[in-house]
Symmetry: C2
Subunit: 563 residues, 2 copies
């Protein structure tokens, strides 16, 4: 008996399985906020739904203390005023454990079917989620829609597909028959039951609450675990809407909605997170955030499988260029996009101090550095257009970091405060670009400066640039590495450096693909091979340990008589 939700979404799942195998372009979720796809009133309805949350209680029929909690601030300059039910850890864990009893028995088809139905509903809520992402993360609307909506849904679907791909390879049963020479064979019937781990804890971040939160959430669900979603206190709403939709689907499908619950918090929730992360019932933890917190989880939450994405230093090696202008435009866009508040945004740009070869002849280090800085400044020259690219700064800590960084070295492009035409109170800063020298500034550029902060760094040679890139990635972590070169041998050397550093490589990006972007079903986001992440989104290792198999065996009559 195929579960009806599995039957409903089986084609989508099949296409996703094909996509993760062939890794070409594919997505079932339209990335353009088009009225043709999302309905003529989709945008207006979504914005209205978002606005209806503001200054209201966000009801969820899950265990609650009766108090309400929440202190989200839009980076565009206003308090959201949304209040979520306050939950205590014991009650939430108790509810999740109780929900697990029937959920785990539902089996892989139900887990996949329910997960896929949740995703279909999330897709329909893409505008509501987009406005929620925008006003918690500071992303401009288009990115909030795409990364917070369809692209996050893609990453979730990818996790469901990987989970299913593993689960479908565990047979429900087997007939085992071992010949015994002249005696009758030994024959047994075996039964294999997929047993989820228990309760998963998803710890969200404040910049990409859905994109980074969905893979763990859906990997857990699709392998039969229950999930407690603990958003970053600064970006609760997008995940609260997600949890509400998940609970609706679960309830309609006849399951206890406490399979998915929300743990909303306010700033200063560190002790609470540490308390729940060490509870014996928590068997899976998915975390995106700081190296300090991620490493603490890896080293202390021994009872759980811990998946982390932490800080890293993303790097660009400039060796030579056929079209320097196009290269520089592409780099500048990557630096400006969402004010560098992407875990994939470049920070260190290495250029040989003797300059580089270009199609128009030699370009000095200063010419390259000025070209990058100039391209950044050009992108943000018009505030009205700039804010649609750079969005707002998520929190004051990042704004302060820009000020701190300004004094570190020679300023190539200074960070400006812009006034947002629509949100005058928005926290908007243009990117800061500094100049460093590898010979004396390595202490300054060896760690992550999260935000719109980047460094053009003079090196002795491309060989030194690659060596720096590989060793920094290996030691401090990195999610992206980019190289510009017209020389095949240098590109191969960059490939070797990427392998040594365990980091994904982009080569000669000059068009409409940016190093910050990672395409679901095709690009592995993170490798798990350097300190920036202990897992990749998504691969078999991300899902295979979220369930176990318990078998039974009993003698049965042999099918074949031995001679």
């Amino acid at each position: 008996m195929t579960h009806p939700l599995f039957a409903k979404h089986e084609d989508t799942l099949k296409n996703a399985l094909d996509a993760i195998a062939s890794r070409g372009y594919w997505s079932p979720f339209a990335e353009m906020p088009s009225p043709k796809v999302y309905g003529e009133t989709g945008n207006a309805d979504g914005e209205a739904a978002f606005k209806a949350h503001l200054d209201h209680e966000f009801p969820l029929d899950q265990p609650s203390t009766g108090d309400w909690i929440g202190a989200e601030q839009s980076p565009f300059g206003f308090a959201l005023g949304v209040r979520y039910p306050k939950a205590d850890v014991d009650a939430l864990i108790g509810a999740a454990a109780a929900a697990e009893r029937s959920w785990r028995k539902a089996g892989p088809e139900a887990w996949a079917g329910v997960s896929l139905e949740i995703l279909a509903r999330l897709n329909r809520a893409s505008f509501e989620i987009a406005y929620s992402v925008m006003h918690t993360t500071g992303q401009a609307f288009m990115m909030a829609f795409q990364a917070g909506g369809p692209h996050a849904q893609d990453r979730a679907l990818e996790a469901v597909a990987y989970a299913w791909d593993e689960l479908r390879r565990v047979p429900a049963g087997a007939h085992w028959e071992k010949p015994q020479g002249k005696n009758p064979p030994l024959a047994m019937r075996k039964r294999y039951t997929v047993v989820p781990r228990g309760i998963g804890l998803v710890l969200g971040c404040c910049t990409f609450p859905t994109w980074n939160g969905y893979p763990g959430l859906f990997a857990d669900l699709a392998t039969g675990n229950t999930v407690i979603v603990k958003p970053h206190p600064g970006a609760i709403l997008p995940l609260a809407i997600t949890v509400r939709i998940a609970r609706d689907v679960l309830r309609e499908a006849g399951f206890d909605p406490n399979v998915v619950t929300l743990l909303a918090t306010e700033p200063g929730d560190g002790p609470l997170v540490q308390e729940i992360a060490l509870r014996p019932e928590i068997k899976l933890i998915d975390f995106t955030g700081s190296t300090q917190n991620g490493t603490w989880l890896e080293r202390n939450a021994h009872q759980a499988q811990v998946f982390t994405e932490k800080a890293g230093v993303n790097q660009i090696v400039v060796d030579s260029a056929d079209d320097l202008k196009a290269a520089v435009r592409n780099i500048a866009f990557s630096l400006a996009l969402y004010s560098g508040q992407m875990c994939t945004a470049p920070q260190n740009i290495y250029v040989p101090r003797d300059g580089i070869r270009t199609a128009e002849g030699h370009a000095s280090f200063d010419e390259v550095a000025q070209a990058i800085a100039g391209a950044v400044q050009k992108l943000v020259a018009d505030p009205a257009r700039a804010v649609e690219l750079i969005g707002a700064i998520q929190n004051d800590g990042i704004a302060r970091r820009i000020d701190e960084a300004r004094s570190l070295g020679h300023v190539l492009a200074d960070s400006q405060t812009l006034e947002h035409p629509a949100f005058p109170q928005a926290r908007v800063r243009t990117p800061l670009v500094l100049q460093f020298d590898a010979a004396k500034d390595s202490a300054k550029f060896s760690g992550e400066w999260f935000g719109p902060i980047s460094f053009v760094i003079a090196t002795d040679s491309t060989a030194q640039s690659l060596e720096l890139a590989a060793s920094l990635a290996a030691r401090h972590g990195a999610l992206t590495l980019s190289v510009y070169s017209t020389d095949e041998a240098t590109i191969e050397a960059a490939h070797d450096a990427a392998i040594d550093g365990g980091v994904a490589l982009s080569i000669n990006l000059t068009g409409g693909v940016f190093v910050n972007q990672s395409a679901a079903f095709s690009d592995f986001h993170g490798t798990g091979a350097n300190p920036a992440a202990n897992a990749a989104l998504t691969d078999a290792a991300f899902v295979a340990n979220r369930f176990r198999v318990v078998q039974s065996r009993i003698h049965v009559a042999p099918r074949e008589q031995s001679a």
Copy 2:
């Protein structure tokens, strides 16, 4: 270009892939030590090869301090006198890291091909390994041959098959082409490189050095890692022979033989193991042994993926029986086999204090307990036959544990010292069976008493037996659970208890299959779902995190022009 060793063994690999998917009976390695399969002189040659090692140096052309080390004692009563090259940790890690550079570039087909060729050669050395296993572990010859030879090779092949099954799903490259409406599509060529973790450390045990050591060793090799094999100081020879064969194959195939090295030690090697286990270069650890050491690794070796098999309490629930005599014979055999020194051997046997239903009518608790004890005593009544079943006690600690246990409760079958007809100095003890009461003795039977020590425990009911079995497995770990019942509802309840305890269940074993036995390609050994092991032999989770994928991407011309 298919690697020649991959081509040579491709059929075996294909059959193994079919076997892990269908999980029926299959093995390419003959389990009977038959001259027809292993050659007329196979046994004699293997014994001669074993004897040639005794009191000699065991040469290995790997980094060595120049000293020789080794203090193995045969449980059958003599010192082996084999001396192995002493290695220091720095030199071994340096050599493994150097070997990794070319090995990791060889790619999945070479890793699989070399692994399979090593296995083929190990199979030909099964007699030499059998005698080495016998005289380090204390196993009787037949078990030493089967479990130490072909069955261990099966488990290794299973790990290679799982590794290949994951690796083959990572494409070498992809063409990604994303439509851009009226503009030309974005097109990229992507390249995916499998990157091994680095150096694996395999920590062997003293009872099943090959059977428990091979899965980690071959999972590491088949995913491109190098491996340092650190046998238990009491059971070096079987793994030393294995390392020698692996190095021969590597050398012949043109690889640096230091892809596999041996770290031989003497008793008291704990500080050395802790030192190497924390080295940053060690990225994978496979451990079989005590809960104390395994838990230490899990909690401290944060730089590595740690796979452990630790202690557990295996249990039998007796509810009712169609054929009590057959049930009791089967149980007694499981208790006696290799003197209970199997991680799968039962320890706690729960019987309702009011007795059970049998085909011959009601049997009281005492009748069942006496029947089990009597069957054990019958099995070991004739010393010459007994020693071929119970083998020898691996070490003095186990012999002392028998003496310690004897005073814990009412003795149903006392442990006797037997004289081995062929080895008068052998340390041979028959099984000890005690009687406990669940109402007052739970502290005594809640931990593992490794060795030929078992308890028949009176419970209030089968429901209590199952509750005890599930909770003990969940809290203290277990690899096996066995139930005897003629009642379908009880069998289903046992199934639920097995899932709660995360332990494999065997039902009504009365014939030629014993609960201690786990068949490669069909039975998952361990579940990873209780404290006895954090992984199963073998499943996707056992291999998927032993490698990572590093990708690159570059623009190419679109294949299709958009309209």
